[in-house]
Protein backbone atom coordinates (compact mmCIF):
# COMPACT_ATOMS: atom_id res chain seq x y z
CA UNK A 1 0.00 0.00 0.00
CA UNK A 2 2.71 2.43 1.07
CA UNK A 3 4.94 1.60 -1.86
CA UNK A 4 2.08 2.39 -4.20
CA UNK A 5 1.57 5.74 -2.54
CA UNK A 6 5.26 6.59 -2.72
CA UNK A 7 5.31 5.63 -6.37
CA UNK A 8 2.25 7.75 -6.99
CA UNK A 9 3.89 10.67 -5.23
CA UNK A 10 7.09 10.49 -7.25
CA UNK A 11 5.35 10.07 -10.57
CA UNK A 12 3.11 13.03 -9.87
CA UNK A 13 6.05 15.21 -8.93
CA UNK A 14 8.02 14.07 -11.95
CA UNK A 15 5.20 15.04 -14.28
CA UNK A 16 4.85 18.31 -12.42
CA UNK A 17 8.55 19.10 -12.96
CA UNK A 18 8.30 18.24 -16.65
CA UNK A 19 5.33 20.55 -16.90
CA UNK A 20 7.19 23.36 -15.20
CA UNK A 21 10.28 22.83 -17.34
CA UNK A 22 8.73 24.31 -20.46
CA UNK A 23 7.74 27.50 -18.67
CA UNK A 24 11.06 27.61 -16.89
CA UNK A 25 13.02 27.47 -20.15
CA UNK A 26 10.91 30.15 -21.78
CA UNK A 27 11.49 32.45 -18.84
CA UNK A 28 15.18 31.65 -18.84
CA UNK A 29 15.52 32.34 -22.56
CA UNK A 30 13.65 35.59 -22.24
CA UNK A 31 15.81 36.74 -19.32
CA UNK A 32 18.97 35.85 -21.22
CA UNK A 33 17.76 37.71 -24.31
CA UNK A 34 16.86 40.69 -22.16
CA UNK A 35 20.25 40.77 -20.41
CA UNK A 36 22.27 40.51 -23.59
CA UNK A 37 19.99 42.68 -25.69
CA UNK A 38 19.48 45.50 -23.19
CA UNK A 39 23.19 46.34 -23.34
CA UNK A 40 22.75 47.81 -26.80
CA UNK A 41 20.69 50.60 -25.36
CA UNK A 42 23.83 52.06 -23.82
CA UNK A 43 24.85 53.23 -27.27
CA UNK A 44 21.50 53.77 -28.95
CA UNK A 45 18.09 54.76 -27.55
CA UNK A 46 15.23 52.21 -27.90
CA UNK A 47 13.38 54.65 -30.20
CA UNK A 48 16.50 55.21 -32.27
CA UNK A 49 17.06 51.47 -32.48
CA UNK A 50 13.51 50.74 -33.68
CA UNK A 51 13.17 53.67 -36.06
CA UNK A 52 16.76 54.10 -37.28
CA UNK A 53 16.95 53.90 -41.03
CA UNK A 54 20.44 52.44 -41.40
CA UNK A 55 21.76 49.10 -40.33
CA UNK A 56 25.59 49.25 -40.60
CA UNK A 57 26.59 47.28 -37.54
CA UNK A 58 30.31 47.10 -38.30
CA UNK A 59 30.98 50.60 -39.52
CA UNK A 60 32.74 52.94 -37.12
CA UNK A 61 30.75 54.11 -35.21
CA UNK A 62 28.14 51.34 -35.84
CA UNK A 63 24.72 52.46 -37.05
CA UNK A 64 22.11 50.30 -35.40
CA UNK A 65 18.69 51.12 -36.84
CA UNK A 66 16.48 48.12 -37.48
CA UNK A 67 13.66 49.85 -39.34
CA UNK A 68 14.74 48.33 -42.68
CA UNK A 69 14.72 44.89 -41.06
CA UNK A 70 11.31 45.39 -39.46
CA UNK A 71 9.90 46.64 -42.77
CA UNK A 72 11.53 43.71 -44.55
CA UNK A 73 9.92 41.21 -42.21
CA UNK A 74 6.61 43.05 -42.42
CA UNK A 75 6.61 43.12 -46.21
CA UNK A 76 7.44 39.45 -46.57
CA UNK A 77 4.88 38.52 -43.91
CA UNK A 78 2.07 40.64 -45.33
CA UNK A 79 2.81 39.29 -48.80
CA UNK A 80 2.73 35.72 -47.54
CA UNK A 81 -0.49 36.39 -45.62
CA UNK A 82 -2.20 37.89 -48.66
CA UNK A 83 -1.40 34.75 -50.61
CA UNK A 84 -1.82 32.05 -47.98
CA UNK A 85 -4.94 33.22 -46.12
CA UNK A 86 -7.44 33.12 -48.98
CA UNK A 87 -5.95 29.99 -50.51
CA UNK A 88 -5.56 28.26 -47.14
CA UNK A 89 -9.07 29.08 -45.90
CA UNK A 90 -10.61 28.10 -49.23
CA UNK A 91 -8.67 24.85 -49.11
CA UNK A 92 -9.94 24.19 -45.57
CA UNK A 93 -13.52 24.87 -46.65
CA UNK A 94 -13.10 22.51 -49.57
CA UNK A 95 -11.71 19.75 -47.36
CA UNK A 96 -14.22 20.20 -44.55
CA UNK A 97 -17.36 20.80 -46.57
CA UNK A 98 -17.14 19.90 -50.21
CA UNK A 99 -14.57 17.23 -51.00
CA UNK A 100 -15.73 13.61 -51.32
CA UNK A 101 -14.09 11.35 -48.70
CA UNK A 102 -11.38 9.94 -50.97
CA UNK A 103 -10.26 13.37 -52.20
CA UNK A 104 -10.40 14.65 -48.63
CA UNK A 105 -7.96 12.00 -47.43
CA UNK A 106 -5.60 12.63 -50.35
CA UNK A 107 -5.62 16.38 -49.74
CA UNK A 108 -5.07 16.02 -46.02
CA UNK A 109 -2.05 13.80 -46.47
CA UNK A 110 -0.74 16.13 -49.15
CA UNK A 111 -0.93 19.02 -46.74
CA UNK A 112 0.75 17.06 -43.98
CA UNK A 113 3.52 16.27 -46.43
CA UNK A 114 3.90 19.95 -47.25
CA UNK A 115 4.34 20.62 -43.53
CA UNK A 116 7.02 17.95 -43.35
CA UNK A 117 9.31 19.51 -45.96
CA UNK A 118 12.27 21.13 -44.16
CA UNK A 119 12.39 24.87 -44.70
CA UNK A 120 15.89 24.74 -46.14
CA UNK A 121 14.62 22.43 -48.87
CA UNK A 122 11.76 24.81 -49.63
CA UNK A 123 14.29 27.64 -49.78
CA UNK A 124 16.53 25.65 -52.05
CA UNK A 125 13.71 24.76 -54.43
CA UNK A 126 12.59 28.39 -54.39
CA UNK A 127 16.06 29.51 -55.25
CA UNK A 128 16.36 27.41 -58.38
CA UNK A 129 12.77 27.65 -59.63
CA UNK A 130 10.89 30.62 -58.20
CA UNK A 131 13.72 33.16 -58.17
CA UNK A 132 14.53 32.90 -61.91
CA UNK A 133 10.80 32.92 -62.65
CA UNK A 134 10.21 36.14 -60.69
CA UNK A 135 13.26 37.66 -62.35
CA UNK A 136 12.07 36.95 -65.89
CA UNK A 137 8.36 37.70 -65.34
CA UNK A 138 8.96 41.11 -63.78
CA UNK A 139 12.16 41.81 -65.80
CA UNK A 140 14.17 42.49 -62.67
CA UNK A 141 17.92 42.62 -62.24
CA UNK A 142 17.52 39.96 -59.57
CA UNK A 143 14.79 37.54 -58.59
CA UNK A 144 15.88 37.58 -54.96
CA UNK A 145 13.00 39.78 -53.79
CA UNK A 146 10.44 40.15 -51.02
CA UNK A 147 7.87 38.71 -53.42
CA UNK A 148 9.82 35.47 -53.86
CA UNK A 149 10.08 35.18 -50.09
CA UNK A 150 6.35 35.84 -49.68
CA UNK A 151 5.38 33.16 -52.17
CA UNK A 152 7.68 30.59 -50.58
CA UNK A 153 6.52 31.45 -47.06
CA UNK A 154 2.90 31.25 -48.16
CA UNK A 155 3.53 27.58 -48.90
CA UNK A 156 4.99 27.13 -45.46
CA UNK A 157 2.10 28.84 -43.68
CA UNK A 158 -0.51 26.92 -45.65
CA UNK A 159 -0.38 23.60 -43.74
CA UNK A 160 -0.91 25.35 -40.40
CA UNK A 161 -3.73 27.51 -41.72
CA UNK A 162 -5.46 24.65 -43.50
CA UNK A 163 -5.33 22.13 -40.68
CA UNK A 164 -6.33 24.49 -37.87
CA UNK A 165 -9.06 26.14 -39.97
CA UNK A 166 -10.36 22.76 -41.05
CA UNK A 167 -10.64 21.71 -37.41
CA UNK A 168 -12.58 24.87 -36.68
CA UNK A 169 -14.94 24.29 -39.59
CA UNK A 170 -15.38 20.67 -38.62
CA UNK A 171 -16.34 21.52 -35.06
CA UNK A 172 -19.29 23.67 -36.15
CA UNK A 173 -22.28 21.66 -34.91
CA UNK A 174 -23.81 19.55 -37.71
CA UNK A 175 -27.18 20.76 -36.52
CA UNK A 176 -26.45 24.36 -37.63
CA UNK A 177 -25.83 23.09 -41.09
CA UNK A 178 -28.91 20.90 -41.17
CA UNK A 179 -31.05 23.69 -39.75
CA UNK A 180 -30.04 26.04 -42.55
CA UNK A 181 -30.33 23.37 -45.24
CA UNK A 182 -33.82 22.50 -44.00
CA UNK A 183 -34.84 26.10 -44.66
CA UNK A 184 -33.86 25.66 -48.27
CA UNK A 185 -30.41 27.22 -48.20
CA UNK A 186 -27.99 26.19 -50.92
CA UNK A 187 -24.69 24.59 -49.99
CA UNK A 188 -22.79 27.81 -50.60
CA UNK A 189 -25.30 29.84 -48.55
CA UNK A 190 -24.80 27.42 -45.68
CA UNK A 191 -21.03 27.72 -45.97
CA UNK A 192 -20.81 31.50 -46.06
CA UNK A 193 -23.75 32.44 -43.85
CA UNK A 194 -23.62 29.74 -41.20
CA UNK A 195 -20.43 27.72 -41.16
CA UNK A 196 -17.85 30.43 -41.80
CA UNK A 197 -19.33 32.88 -39.23
CA UNK A 198 -19.66 30.09 -36.67
CA UNK A 199 -16.04 29.05 -37.22
CA UNK A 200 -14.72 32.61 -37.50
CA UNK A 201 -12.73 32.67 -34.29
CA UNK A 202 -11.08 29.33 -35.05
CA UNK A 203 -10.21 30.50 -38.55
CA UNK A 204 -8.70 33.70 -37.16
CA UNK A 205 -6.62 31.60 -34.80
CA UNK A 206 -5.47 29.50 -37.76
CA UNK A 207 -4.47 32.63 -39.62
CA UNK A 208 -2.55 33.99 -36.64
CA UNK A 209 -0.70 30.71 -36.15
CA UNK A 210 0.17 30.66 -39.84
CA UNK A 211 1.47 34.22 -39.65
CA UNK A 212 3.43 33.32 -36.54
CA UNK A 213 5.19 30.63 -38.51
CA UNK A 214 5.96 33.09 -41.31
CA UNK A 215 7.45 35.72 -38.99
CA UNK A 216 9.70 33.19 -37.31
CA UNK A 217 10.87 31.49 -40.51
CA UNK A 218 14.55 32.04 -41.20
CA UNK A 219 16.23 29.66 -43.59
CA UNK A 220 13.98 29.97 -46.61
CA UNK A 221 13.79 33.75 -46.43
CA UNK A 222 17.52 34.06 -46.00
CA UNK A 223 18.05 32.06 -49.17
CA UNK A 224 15.63 33.89 -51.44
CA UNK A 225 14.94 37.43 -50.27
CA UNK A 226 18.29 38.88 -51.27
CA UNK A 227 19.31 40.07 -47.79
CA UNK A 228 19.87 43.73 -48.43
CA UNK A 229 19.20 45.80 -45.36
CA UNK A 230 17.67 48.84 -47.02
CA UNK A 231 14.20 50.23 -46.66
CA UNK A 232 12.23 48.60 -49.49
CA UNK A 233 10.07 50.71 -51.82
CA UNK A 234 8.28 47.81 -53.44
CA UNK A 235 7.73 44.13 -53.03
CA UNK A 236 9.95 43.55 -56.05
CA UNK A 237 13.09 44.63 -54.19
CA UNK A 238 15.46 42.57 -52.11
CA UNK A 239 14.80 42.84 -48.39
CA UNK A 240 16.31 41.46 -45.25
CA UNK A 241 14.19 40.14 -42.41
CA UNK A 242 14.83 40.24 -38.66
CA UNK A 243 15.36 36.50 -38.55
CA UNK A 244 17.76 36.37 -41.48
CA UNK A 245 19.82 39.18 -39.95
CA UNK A 246 20.42 37.24 -36.77
CA UNK A 247 21.20 34.02 -38.60
CA UNK A 248 23.56 35.65 -41.07
CA UNK A 249 25.47 37.90 -38.71
CA UNK A 250 25.63 36.08 -35.40
CA UNK A 251 28.58 33.99 -36.51
CA UNK A 252 30.70 37.02 -37.31
CA UNK A 253 29.70 39.33 -34.49
CA UNK A 254 32.41 39.78 -31.88
CA UNK A 255 31.11 38.59 -28.53
CA UNK A 256 30.50 41.61 -26.32
CA UNK A 257 30.53 44.13 -29.17
CA UNK A 258 27.67 46.51 -29.86
CA UNK A 259 26.84 44.46 -32.93
CA UNK A 260 26.52 41.36 -30.76
CA UNK A 261 24.19 43.09 -28.32
CA UNK A 262 22.19 44.60 -31.17
CA UNK A 263 21.50 41.16 -32.60
CA UNK A 264 20.14 40.05 -29.23
CA UNK A 265 17.94 43.13 -29.20
CA UNK A 266 16.65 42.10 -32.64
CA UNK A 267 15.88 38.77 -31.00
CA UNK A 268 13.86 40.55 -28.32
CA UNK A 269 11.86 42.38 -30.99
CA UNK A 270 11.14 39.08 -32.74
CA UNK A 271 10.22 37.42 -29.48
CA UNK A 272 7.76 40.19 -28.66
CA UNK A 273 6.19 40.04 -32.11
CA UNK A 274 5.72 36.25 -32.11
CA UNK A 275 4.50 36.34 -28.54
CA UNK A 276 1.88 38.95 -29.46
CA UNK A 277 0.77 36.91 -32.47
CA UNK A 278 0.51 33.71 -30.43
CA UNK A 279 -1.41 35.39 -27.63
CA UNK A 280 -3.84 36.80 -30.17
CA UNK A 281 -4.29 33.35 -31.70
CA UNK A 282 -4.84 31.93 -28.23
CA UNK A 283 -7.47 34.53 -27.43
CA UNK A 284 -9.38 33.59 -30.56
CA UNK A 285 -9.10 29.88 -29.78
CA UNK A 286 -10.38 30.42 -26.27
CA UNK A 287 -13.24 32.52 -27.51
CA UNK A 288 -14.18 29.56 -29.64
CA UNK A 289 -14.17 27.04 -26.83
CA UNK A 290 -15.96 29.17 -24.26
Amino acid sequence: MNIRKVKEFFIEKLIFICGLASIFFVVLIFLFLLREGAAVFNSVSPAGFLSGRSWYPISEPPQLGILPLILGSLMVTVGAAVISIPVGVACAVYIAEIAPPSVKEALKSGIELLAAIPSVVIGFIGMVTLVPWVKSVFRLPTGLTALSGSIMLAFMAMPTIVSVAEDALYSVPKSYKEGALALGATHWQVIHRVILPAAASGILAAVMLGIGRVIGETMAVMMITGNSAVIPNSILQPVRTLTATIAAEMGEAVVGSEHYFALFAVGIVLFVISFAVNVTADLFLHKRTS
Partner: protein, 248 residues
Protein backbone atom coordinates in the same frame (compact mmCIF):
# COMPACT_ATOMS: atom_id res chain seq x y z
CA UNK B 1 -56.17 15.61 -50.63
CA UNK B 2 -52.84 13.84 -50.57
CA UNK B 3 -49.69 15.79 -49.78
CA UNK B 4 -47.19 13.00 -50.29
CA UNK B 5 -47.55 9.73 -52.09
CA UNK B 6 -44.84 7.18 -51.34
CA UNK B 7 -44.39 4.10 -53.53
CA UNK B 8 -42.14 1.08 -52.82
CA UNK B 9 -39.63 3.15 -50.94
CA UNK B 10 -36.46 1.45 -49.75
CA UNK B 11 -33.63 3.28 -48.04
CA UNK B 12 -30.19 1.99 -47.14
CA UNK B 13 -27.33 3.60 -45.27
CA UNK B 14 -24.36 1.49 -46.32
CA UNK B 15 -25.39 -2.06 -45.44
CA UNK B 16 -28.20 -1.01 -43.09
CA UNK B 17 -31.66 -1.33 -44.56
CA UNK B 18 -33.32 1.60 -42.81
CA UNK B 19 -36.72 1.56 -44.53
CA UNK B 20 -38.17 -1.29 -46.53
CA UNK B 21 -40.99 -1.45 -49.04
CA UNK B 22 -42.84 1.56 -47.75
CA UNK B 23 -46.01 2.46 -49.60
CA UNK B 24 -48.31 5.06 -48.06
CA UNK B 25 -50.05 8.38 -48.58
CA UNK B 26 -49.71 11.38 -46.32
CA UNK B 27 -52.95 13.36 -46.24
CA UNK B 28 -52.79 17.15 -46.68
CA UNK B 29 -53.73 19.59 -43.90
CA UNK B 30 -53.77 17.00 -41.17
CA UNK B 31 -51.36 15.93 -38.51
CA UNK B 32 -49.78 12.55 -39.12
CA UNK B 33 -48.09 11.19 -35.99
CA UNK B 34 -45.31 8.72 -36.50
CA UNK B 35 -44.45 6.46 -33.57
CA UNK B 36 -42.13 3.55 -33.07
CA UNK B 37 -39.14 2.49 -31.00
CA UNK B 38 -35.66 3.77 -31.81
CA UNK B 39 -34.12 2.39 -35.01
CA UNK B 40 -37.61 1.83 -36.39
CA UNK B 41 -36.91 4.12 -39.34
CA UNK B 42 -39.23 6.93 -38.35
CA UNK B 43 -36.61 9.67 -38.47
CA UNK B 44 -35.27 8.32 -41.77
CA UNK B 45 -38.83 8.47 -43.05
CA UNK B 46 -39.17 12.08 -41.93
CA UNK B 47 -35.83 13.18 -43.37
CA UNK B 48 -36.77 11.55 -46.68
CA UNK B 49 -39.58 14.04 -47.11
CA UNK B 50 -37.21 17.04 -47.24
CA UNK B 51 -34.33 15.08 -48.71
CA UNK B 52 -32.05 15.60 -45.73
CA UNK B 53 -31.04 11.93 -45.82
CA UNK B 54 -29.00 12.71 -48.89
CA UNK B 55 -26.42 14.49 -46.71
CA UNK B 56 -25.24 11.05 -45.62
CA UNK B 57 -22.70 9.84 -48.19
CA UNK B 58 -23.78 6.21 -47.72
CA UNK B 59 -27.41 6.94 -48.56
CA UNK B 60 -29.08 4.84 -51.28
CA UNK B 61 -32.74 4.51 -52.16
CA UNK B 62 -35.21 2.95 -54.53
CA UNK B 63 -38.86 3.75 -55.15
CA UNK B 64 -40.43 7.18 -55.32
CA UNK B 65 -41.77 9.96 -53.13
CA UNK B 66 -44.22 12.26 -54.93
CA UNK B 67 -45.25 15.64 -53.61
CA UNK B 68 -48.22 17.20 -55.40
CA UNK B 69 -47.77 14.67 -58.19
CA UNK B 70 -44.06 15.40 -58.72
CA UNK B 71 -41.17 13.17 -57.77
CA UNK B 72 -39.24 15.11 -55.14
CA UNK B 73 -36.00 13.55 -56.37
CA UNK B 74 -36.53 15.33 -59.67
CA UNK B 75 -37.28 18.68 -58.04
CA UNK B 76 -34.60 21.14 -57.05
CA UNK B 77 -33.35 20.23 -53.55
CA UNK B 78 -33.63 23.78 -52.22
CA UNK B 79 -37.20 24.05 -53.49
CA UNK B 80 -38.19 20.81 -51.77
CA UNK B 81 -36.70 22.05 -48.52
CA UNK B 82 -38.41 25.43 -48.84
CA UNK B 83 -41.77 23.74 -49.33
CA UNK B 84 -41.13 21.13 -46.66
CA UNK B 85 -39.92 22.86 -43.50
CA UNK B 86 -38.48 21.01 -40.54
CA UNK B 87 -38.35 21.58 -36.80
CA UNK B 88 -35.64 19.61 -35.03
CA UNK B 89 -35.57 17.80 -31.70
CA UNK B 90 -33.36 20.34 -29.99
CA UNK B 91 -34.30 23.98 -30.34
CA UNK B 92 -31.56 25.32 -32.47
CA UNK B 93 -31.47 29.08 -32.72
CA UNK B 94 -28.57 30.51 -34.65
CA UNK B 95 -26.29 32.87 -32.71
CA UNK B 96 -28.31 35.88 -33.90
CA UNK B 97 -31.09 38.11 -32.58
CA UNK B 98 -34.69 36.87 -32.38
CA UNK B 99 -35.60 38.94 -35.43
CA UNK B 100 -32.63 37.74 -37.47
CA UNK B 101 -33.33 34.11 -36.61
CA UNK B 102 -36.79 34.32 -38.11
CA UNK B 103 -35.68 36.54 -40.99
CA UNK B 104 -32.81 34.19 -41.76
CA UNK B 105 -34.65 31.81 -44.06
CA UNK B 106 -36.49 34.65 -45.77
CA UNK B 107 -33.19 36.36 -46.51
CA UNK B 108 -31.78 33.12 -47.91
CA UNK B 109 -34.53 33.14 -50.47
CA UNK B 110 -33.57 36.58 -51.62
CA UNK B 111 -35.77 39.03 -49.70
CA UNK B 112 -33.76 42.11 -48.72
CA UNK B 113 -36.47 44.74 -48.20
CA UNK B 114 -36.67 45.57 -44.49
CA UNK B 115 -40.46 46.14 -44.51
CA UNK B 116 -41.14 42.83 -46.21
CA UNK B 117 -38.87 41.11 -43.72
CA UNK B 118 -40.67 42.72 -40.80
CA UNK B 119 -44.04 41.60 -42.16
CA UNK B 120 -42.82 38.02 -42.62
CA UNK B 121 -41.23 37.91 -39.18
CA UNK B 122 -44.31 39.20 -37.40
CA UNK B 123 -46.62 36.85 -39.28
CA UNK B 124 -44.41 33.84 -38.54
CA UNK B 125 -44.03 34.73 -34.86
CA UNK B 126 -47.79 35.15 -34.49
CA UNK B 127 -48.40 31.77 -36.14
CA UNK B 128 -45.96 30.16 -33.73
CA UNK B 129 -47.68 31.86 -30.75
CA UNK B 130 -44.52 33.66 -29.78
CA UNK B 131 -45.24 37.23 -30.95
CA UNK B 132 -46.81 38.46 -27.72
CA UNK B 133 -43.89 37.19 -25.66
CA UNK B 134 -41.10 38.67 -27.78
CA UNK B 135 -42.52 41.64 -29.70
CA UNK B 136 -40.77 44.16 -27.43
CA UNK B 137 -37.36 42.52 -27.57
CA UNK B 138 -36.83 41.36 -31.11
CA UNK B 139 -33.23 42.55 -31.08
CA UNK B 140 -32.33 40.38 -28.10
CA UNK B 141 -30.14 37.31 -28.64
CA UNK B 142 -32.24 34.22 -29.32
CA UNK B 143 -30.29 32.38 -26.63
CA UNK B 144 -31.94 34.54 -23.97
CA UNK B 145 -35.26 32.79 -24.58
CA UNK B 146 -36.39 29.75 -22.62
CA UNK B 147 -36.21 26.28 -24.20
CA UNK B 148 -39.89 26.27 -25.10
CA UNK B 149 -39.68 29.76 -26.56
CA UNK B 150 -36.61 28.77 -28.55
CA UNK B 151 -38.48 25.83 -30.02
CA UNK B 152 -41.39 28.06 -31.00
CA UNK B 153 -38.83 30.46 -32.48
CA UNK B 154 -37.58 27.59 -34.62
CA UNK B 155 -41.15 26.87 -35.68
CA UNK B 156 -41.51 30.56 -36.61
CA UNK B 157 -38.26 30.41 -38.57
CA UNK B 158 -39.63 27.46 -40.52
CA UNK B 159 -42.98 29.16 -41.09
CA UNK B 160 -41.37 32.37 -42.30
CA UNK B 161 -40.24 30.78 -45.57
CA UNK B 162 -43.90 29.85 -46.24
CA UNK B 163 -43.70 26.07 -46.53
CA UNK B 164 -46.58 23.74 -47.40
CA UNK B 165 -45.53 20.96 -45.09
CA UNK B 166 -43.88 21.07 -41.67
CA UNK B 167 -41.94 18.13 -40.32
CA UNK B 168 -41.51 17.89 -36.56
CA UNK B 169 -38.72 15.62 -35.37
CA UNK B 170 -39.48 14.93 -31.70
CA UNK B 171 -40.01 18.66 -31.14
CA UNK B 172 -40.83 18.35 -27.44
CA UNK B 173 -38.24 15.82 -26.33
CA UNK B 174 -36.25 18.47 -24.46
CA UNK B 175 -39.17 20.53 -23.17
CA UNK B 176 -41.10 20.68 -19.92
CA UNK B 177 -44.85 19.84 -19.91
CA UNK B 178 -46.00 23.48 -20.06
CA UNK B 179 -43.78 24.29 -23.05
CA UNK B 180 -44.84 21.03 -24.66
CA UNK B 181 -48.48 22.02 -24.34
CA UNK B 182 -47.75 25.34 -26.05
CA UNK B 183 -45.96 23.67 -28.94
CA UNK B 184 -48.82 21.21 -29.32
CA UNK B 185 -51.34 24.03 -29.29
CA UNK B 186 -49.39 25.74 -32.07
CA UNK B 187 -49.37 22.51 -34.08
CA UNK B 188 -53.12 22.03 -33.71
CA UNK B 189 -53.79 25.51 -35.07
CA UNK B 190 -51.22 25.19 -37.85
CA UNK B 191 -52.86 22.13 -39.36
CA UNK B 192 -55.63 24.21 -40.89
CA UNK B 193 -53.05 25.67 -43.29
CA UNK B 194 -50.23 23.14 -43.32
CA UNK B 195 -49.64 19.44 -43.64
CA UNK B 196 -47.85 18.29 -40.51
CA UNK B 197 -45.81 15.17 -39.93
CA UNK B 198 -44.83 14.63 -36.32
CA UNK B 199 -42.27 12.05 -35.27
CA UNK B 200 -42.52 11.48 -31.56
CA UNK B 201 -41.30 9.11 -28.88
CA UNK B 202 -44.17 10.20 -26.72
CA UNK B 203 -47.07 7.90 -27.52
CA UNK B 204 -49.49 10.09 -25.58
CA UNK B 205 -48.49 13.08 -27.65
CA UNK B 206 -49.26 11.13 -30.82
CA UNK B 207 -52.68 10.32 -29.41
CA UNK B 208 -53.30 13.95 -28.40
CA UNK B 209 -52.46 15.74 -31.63
CA UNK B 210 -52.46 13.21 -34.50
CA UNK B 211 -55.36 12.89 -36.91
CA UNK B 212 -53.72 9.77 -38.24
CA UNK B 213 -51.01 7.68 -36.63
CA UNK B 214 -48.39 5.50 -38.29
CA UNK B 215 -46.51 2.84 -36.35
CA UNK B 216 -43.05 1.87 -37.61
CA UNK B 217 -41.05 -1.13 -36.49
CA UNK B 218 -37.62 -2.22 -37.79
CA UNK B 219 -37.89 -0.12 -40.91
CA UNK B 220 -41.39 -1.32 -41.82
CA UNK B 221 -44.73 0.42 -41.61
CA UNK B 222 -46.82 -1.84 -39.38
CA UNK B 223 -50.00 0.16 -39.19
CA UNK B 224 -51.44 3.43 -40.46
CA UNK B 225 -54.94 4.51 -39.57
CA UNK B 226 -57.01 7.15 -37.83
CA UNK B 227 -55.47 7.91 -34.47
CA UNK B 228 -58.59 6.82 -32.59
CA UNK B 229 -58.59 3.47 -34.35
CA UNK B 230 -54.89 2.86 -33.77
CA UNK B 231 -55.21 3.63 -30.10
CA UNK B 232 -58.44 1.75 -29.44
CA UNK B 233 -58.66 -1.17 -31.84
CA UNK B 234 -55.24 -1.63 -33.49
CA UNK B 235 -55.15 -4.32 -36.15
CA UNK B 236 -51.67 -5.54 -35.33
CA UNK B 237 -50.72 -7.02 -31.99
CA UNK B 238 -47.28 -5.35 -32.10
CA UNK B 239 -48.93 -1.94 -32.33
CA UNK B 240 -51.04 -2.77 -29.31
CA UNK B 241 -47.98 -3.95 -27.36
CA UNK B 242 -46.02 -0.81 -28.21
CA UNK B 243 -48.85 1.55 -27.29
CA UNK B 244 -49.34 -0.25 -23.99
CA UNK B 245 -45.64 0.11 -23.29
CA UNK B 246 -44.82 -3.59 -23.43
CA UNK B 247 -41.67 -2.82 -25.43
CA UNK B 248 -39.80 0.12 -26.93
Amino acid sequence: MVAFSIRDLNIWFGAVHALSNLTMDIPAKEILSVIGPSNSGKTTFLRMLNRLNELNVNFRMSGAVDMGGKDIRKMETELVRKKVGMVFALPLPLPLSIFENVAYGVRIHGVKNRNKLEVSVERALRQAYLWEEVKDRLELSAFKLSGGQQQRLCIARTLAVEPEVILFDEPCSGLDPVSTAKVEEAMMKLKTDYTIVLVTNNVKQAARVGDKTAFFLSGKLVELDKTDTVFTVPRDKRTDDYIRGKFG
